[in-house]
């Protein structure tokens, strides 16, 4: 008997859904890091040069 969905599909759906959440969280982290770094005038590249204009 052919079924529309199989247990295998459920597993894949769960995995893809989880991966989607992880990717969204990653985007959120990169966004948050950008806000903190730019807002705080921190040294984004670790070069020792700080963007002092950002805080003005």
């Amino acid at each position: 008997m052919i079924r529309a969905t199989h247990e295998l599909h459920d597993r894949r759906r769960g995995r893809n859904f989880g991966l989607g959440l992880i990717l969204m969280a990653f985007v959120g982290i990169v966004f948050g890091m950008t806000i903190v770094k730019v807002g705080g005038g921190q040294d984004v590249l670790g070069t020792g040069m700080v963007n002092t204009e950002a805080g003005q």
Binding site: L8, M33, Q42, D43
Partner: protein, 318 residues
């Protein structure tokens, strides 16, 4: 991660089911990750340089992911002996849930990602230190030392000792006596911790032909080594008291826990194999459990002292 495989061999059994996300998560050794998170967080928070809470969160997250990546690479390389040892038979690769090639791909991808993101979140030195830690654990320990020398645990323990040093580097951008001593604390703690485990998990390492000290030099030599390292550990632990991160909570913890740990190591040292077999390794199991508390309480005490300093309740011994 689903249909492609970077590494397949004739001996490798194909996975029996479609893997779930939790199977990939299990490749990252979550229990080891929790120790990495805790010690890295302490290393970061006790540092004298304040760090933005979001950077603390992301840095510790990427240190944990780096630790997890090295765990996945360890499972990829050690899949053959993981199938033999009882303790590791349920890991995703020997259990047939994930292919070895998938573990390799996941480990490499997360290694690169974590190092790059930590360098961006904090500084390049911290990122480089994380990269070195992954290299040390995977290449130096897993691929080289683990199956070659009974000192595998001693040198390999360095990989697990780096996280507080990385945490400190995130905040300060460098290395200092405090971070070196936090590293040393875990580094010297690792041999007695693992050798006490090996004393009562002996058949596992025997069958997998891993040259654990208990296998190559016998139990009496292992007991002597445990005592020797515990004495060294006490000196290292008390040394931290006199640095800028030591305080009353740490002093009290170090005194109590080192006394208990030394007594435990002495009891293990005085026993013969026959005595250990008679009570099903009771003393060895107690010592192993105590070793877990030892490290946890030391790092918790460092955190308490940092909080006391932050509240202005403690100004240091100097």
């Amino acid at each position: 991660m689903t249909d492609t495989s970077l590494h397949t061999s004739a001996q490798e059994p194909s996975r029996s089911t479609e893997p779930e996300l939790k199977d990939y998560f299990a490749l990252l050794k979550p229990r080891v990750m929790s120790l990495v998170v805790f010690t890295a967080l302490v290393g970061l928070l006790v540092a004298p340089v304040p760090v933005h809470p979001f950077i603390v969160f992301t840095s510790v997250l990427f240190i944990a992911i780096g630790g997890g990546a090295s765990g996945a690479l360890n499972m990829w390389w050690d899949a053959d002996i993981d199938r033999i040892m009882r303790r590791t038979q349920k890991r995703p690769i020997p259990a047939g849930k994930v292919n070895a090639g998938e573990a390799l791909g996941l480990g490499l991808a997360l290694s690169g990602l974590s190092v790059m993101m930590l360098a961006l979140a904090s500084n390049i030195f911290a990122g480089a230190l994380l990269a070195f830690t992954i290299f040390f654990y995977v290449v130096i320990y897993t691929m080289w030392l683990k199956r070659w020398t009974p000192q595998n645990i001693v040198i390999g323990g360095a990989a697990g000792a780096f996280p507080p040093m990385i945490g400190w580097a995130v905040a300060t951008g460098g290395v200092s006596i405090e971070s070196v001593l936090m590293f040393s604390l875990i580094f010297i703690w690792t041999p007695p911790h693992f050798w006490s485990l090996a004393l009562f998990m002996k058949s596992d390492y025997d069958e997998a032909k891993v040259p654990m000290l208990t296998v190559t030099h016998g139990h009496d030599a292992t007991r002597r080594h445990i005592l020797g390292y515990t004495i060294l550990l006490a000196a290292c632990s008390l040394g931290l008291v006199f640095t800028s991160i030591g305080g009353p909570a740490y002093l009290a913890t170090a005194l109590v826990m080192n006394f208990r740990f030394l007594v435990g190591a002495w009891k293990v040292f005085k026993r013969s194999t026959a005595q250990a077999e008679a009570d099903a390794d009771g003393e060895e199991k107690r010592f192993f459990k105590l070793s877990l508390w030892y490290l946890f309480l030391h790092f918790t005490a460092l955190l308490v002292d940092a909080a006391l300093r932050g509240l202005g309740l403690w100004g240091g011994f100097a």
